[in-house]
Symmetry: C2
Amino acid sequence: MEKIKIGIVGYGNIGRGVELAVERNEDMELKAIFTRREPESVQIMTEGVPVVHMDDILSMKDEIDVMILCGGSATDLPVIGPEIVKNFNTIDSFDTHAKIPEYFADVDASAKAGGHIGIISVGWDPGMFSLNRIYAESILVQGDTYTFWGKGVSQGHSDAIRRVKGVKNAIQYTVPVEEAVEQVRSGCGPKLTTRDKHLRECYVVAEEGADLKEIEETIKNMPNYFSDYNTTVTFITEEQLKAEHSKMPHGGFVIRSGETGREGSKHVIEYSLKLDSNPEFTSSVLVCYARAAYRLSKNGDSGAKTVFDIAPGMLSMKTAEELRAQLL
Amino acid sequence: MEKIKIGIVGYGNIGRGVELAVERNEDMELKAIFTRREPESVQIMTEGVPVVHMDDILSMKDEIDVMILCGGSATDLPVIGPEIVKNFNTIDSFDTHAKIPEYFADVDASAKAGGHIGIISVGWDPGMFSLNRIYAESILVQGDTYTFWGKGVSQGHSDAIRRVKGVKNAIQYTVPVEEAVEQVRSGCGPKLTTRDKHLRECYVVAEEGADLKEIEETIKNMPNYFSDYNTTVTFITEEQLKAEHSKMPHGGFVIRSGETGREGSKHVIEYSLKLDSNPEFTSSVLVCYARAAYRLSKNGDSGAKTVFDIAPGMLSMKTAEELRAQLL
């Protein structure tokens, strides 16, 4: 069997997760990892795979079927996404929801120009949660969809706390409010505010002599990040932070309740994830969509795609016959 | 806006459910209901829609975009499925899992010959549950998938009880065993027997003077249907049956637990349904796949398809742009 040849662009948490996920898919092989750092300074886990500088990416144009872009959505992907898709099929996890239409258009133009496939915004949200929103809404046309995240670390909120004066280190967990989830599950279609849906738990390591009261108030009143939520602030030591908060669990729920028929029969559709490792799970989603990108490209298709455009059968190692016999 | 013109073939619980679901989708209209009974004897809910005899189905060849086949899987669909798809796009809920490959081949040949689309085995299992099995397995390659059904009525098992000597009427509920579901949710990947996963609750109306002890024993020892399960038999009156057991709720869970990375990070993906009306929900799934059949056919595609072959975006009333902006 000829394997699907994967390249990884960017070697952070997601890049490492993709490296591990490729190992678990026997129809794929990792061909190279691309970095902007000095290649010699990057220690990877897979023996025999070269680390290549981004400047030399085109030297591997004929050796890679799909590039998995593991950069950030804020500044990295908007630049490299449209650039790399000119020469390679790509997958990314672009997750700035408000900018998806613009990013899609940019990737689409470059992908079509280069005759490649670029699947954007793959992961669990956007990604699996988006899929569950579209399926549930298409079935139950009249209803309400609710998305809850957590319990899990929000990198953006943790960073925001770290910028507060007197804070040495910090981590923030987004926590769904149990009563709100139960209300939604009951199918009553409640109106919930931001505050009703999620709590924010902050664990903060303060600098020596810092004003703890002031740190707490600054965090709790931070607009956009915390002021619309019930927020708890707990001060801990650097050792506690390391020992108790170095994992990256996450998860969440997409729940739609809706009605059918003239008498309004009620139905509840729920999808949930409970993840030990947010980056490893996200990477596993990226890798199965790489299989779809490879197949679409082989079929002569090109342009930007999202999870909405990909038939589920494209993701599986199994043939269409096996899928019908075993999973349908 | 030009509406998608729907025909319904067969007017039982699912046919009525489709009639109601079409009402809730503003881009569709019901054009006719086809029956093998005397059309005059069939009372439908929608004013102004004709009831047409099956023998005259071809008279409406140019007036219907998609036929939703609401017949049974045992004897009805294997005959009418391949027949009708010669002249119309079709959707059905064929659910005899073991015979899906053969049925697919039959529908595929006829559909291609006629230049139409036939989407088979649509509903929630097969259907939404199948989708969740394929997505979860494609992401978590190493793991175990569990499907639980219920609490809900099994028509086949209820029928089996009704054939027992001395039984006047009966209904059977399939009930997932809570402890088994919890074990699976914990991610420990338990080995579960048939008996571990589901209970069977039977509510039986006995004929006057019947031997209740014998009925109970006969049910509990019935091979294939009950002997592999823990089964309870409760005798009730015909009035109780009518008052307390005339609804058609159902639901269930698809849960996959699996591992990623070299250290085996654990993840649990769960999809669940809680349905007031099994036929109305199934019908709502059928109707959104009718939209996909219509679009595929407009694009010039033909042949048999399953939910694995249909990109999720095809199901929605929204445009691709709206979907990316609102649901991704």
